[in-house]
Symmetry: C2
Subunit: 339 residues, 2 copies
């Protein structure tokens, strides 16, 4: 259905293009470094209006009001919402290309209502995010970052004095969200002889791991929760106080999904009071803010929303974005359509 | 053959025990914390002479010369050599129980010459060491410890600004030493779709991964070297300048073996000058010393010889040591004999 809509809409875009004999304009809606990492190659199908990713959209439209109607697509990333207010600025917008797998920063209902297509990162980041999830889990279990910091600050030398960690091999792992990322995480941790269980909206017939219909039940039966699901109204604070208490004092939470999946205030309390064993956090509830209470804790590993930050993934997403743009402006089906 | 020797020798020990109607004494030869972690349960087969692991052996014998001949076994660990000088202090010694997998701190030839048996940790630590190797590799590739440190020092907030890491999935991994630990590492990294090759003294018919007869050739054909072999005269500085240059600027070295496997001076130079991409180091050439040049580098992760430091492994090694002692002083075959 998306492809059909796409053909219809992109025909319209193509008509605009042909009638005006100019290329459709693309606006990059993100932070300054976004354009360095994510720069589609020059194309005869479209034109990047702000290749240096500046100024911000509101400012750009305010100073270049004639461009409001020339922008047919935007590239966007987290922390740069695509909501009704942004959409109101762009009356000719037909395509939103997200550079991310999570798209909770995009108002999908509003896009749908306006006939605007949305693409995401597809499967581009799944392997990197799964690698990061396993890395954070080993790091927390085995105290790698805290030991590295102790050594560098000369609070420790290489000998017996360091506190004992917790073994990963054989642990019971609860994956929350058994999609592309969750499956990659499970595959990796099976090779550590871990016992995998999962929770997701529905039991998946293609997945043989034990399924729990609630995260509370999953936490009760596992040593580790790894959060890989999307953030939406159903999953916000899916890990609350009760879930953390069920996971217990030795339990570890790894979050490579979105910060809002966890009740962050309760997480802080549980970490400080030892109600859970530790946490590996790549995402936070109010990014780019990271709660300062975390900085003094030895049972957490903190990562700056970096699960997809590899050169390989950035080459991959550049290609996916470029192919989506080319497809859209050539009246072909989108590569990674959401709507 | 070891078991036969054991029966012969432990019969002698047992005779001493019976004739004197006292339990054979065990001395704990290690740092103060050693005895906290590694304390065999009380037994009617033997008696721990220094349960608090103090004073050091030389001092103990100097102040208690009558005990020199009463010590029939010692428990020992790295950094506490068991060489001819130590053996000379203990004329009745019949068993050296190492709490480690690597036993380069024990003069095996000298033990053999004197008819002294040696046991090691057997397979107790293989899983934990393999977990640590993978953890260090992900940490270096994905810059986890450096990011954690940047966040805590407020040099970074959770957003796009952090430098890109390197993808782990699919990388070519060279395992140096395909024993118990190397096999566990390979199994784990296969689940990350990594391509495994290995070097060891001899090609192993039971292992299907490609074999390279030299570490230089292995480094030339891989992105990552993981050192899991024992340190001995053949393997000292097995990773030298030439090997590091062959591994190349994007290459990563993980060492969970012994520090002496790498020419540490050359490693420092290669890391500082970017001749290799990075390193995850759990061991160092002159422990407990860690070269201070490493402390300012962002492309290394440093760990205080902590690959076996989990409560699970310590319970495991306590049991192995206790079972070896019980077996030895009951004239039964040793559990994890080396000689």
């Amino acid at each position: 259905m998306a492809a059909n809509q796409n053909v219809k809409t992109s025909t319209t875009s193509s008509s605009i293009q042909q009638s005006q004999n100019i290329l459709p304009n693309i606006f990059i809606h993100g932070p300054p470094k976004f354009s360095i990492f994510l720069q589609p190659n020059p194309s005869h199908n479209f034109h990047i209006l702000n290749p240096s990713c500046l100024p911000p959209l509101h400012q750009f439209i305010a100073t270049n009001p004639h461009h409001a109607s020339s922008i047919h697509a935007i590239l966007c990333t987290t922390l740069f919402p695509v909501n009704a207010e942004v959409l109101d600025l762009l009356p000719s917008l037909r395509l939103v290309c997200a550079s991310t797998a999570g798209i909770n920063h995009i108002d999908l209902a509003e896009c749908k209502r306006r006939g605007i297509h949305v693409t995401d990162a597809g499967n581009t980041f799944s392997e990197d995010v799964a690698d990061m999830a396993v890395g954070l889990l080993i790091d927390v279990s085995r105290k790698i970052s805290v030991a590295d910091s102790f050594l560098r600050r000369k609070l420790q030398h290489a000998s017996w004095d360091f506190p004992l960690g917790s073994k990963l091999t054989g642990k019971k792992i609860g994956v929350v969200g058994m999609g592309r990322i969750g499956s990659e995480v499970a595959t990796r941790l099976e090779a550590f002889s871990c016992k995998i269980s999962y929770n997701s909206r529905n039991k998946k017939s293609s997945i043989s791991y034990p399924f729990y219909s609630s995260v509370l039940e999953l936490a009760t039966n596992t040593n580790v929760l790894i959060l890989c699901c999307a953030l939406n109204d159903e999953t916000r604070h899916i890990v609350n106080k009760q879930v953390m208490l069920a996971l217990g004092k030795g339990g570890i939470i790894v979050n490579v999904g979105r910060g809002g999946l966890i009740d962050e205030k309760e997480l802080l309390r549980c970490l400080i009071e030892g109600e859970i064993g530790g946490a590996g956090l790549d995402v936070f509830e109010n990014e780019p803010h990271v709660p300062k209470e975390l900085f003094s804790l030895d049972n957490v590993v903190l990562s700056p929303h970096a699960a997809v930050l590899t050169s390989e993934s950035f080459n991959g997403i550049s290609k996916v974005v470029e192919e989506n743009l080319k497809a859209f402006f050539s009246n072909k089906p989108l590569i990674t359509p959401v709507i």
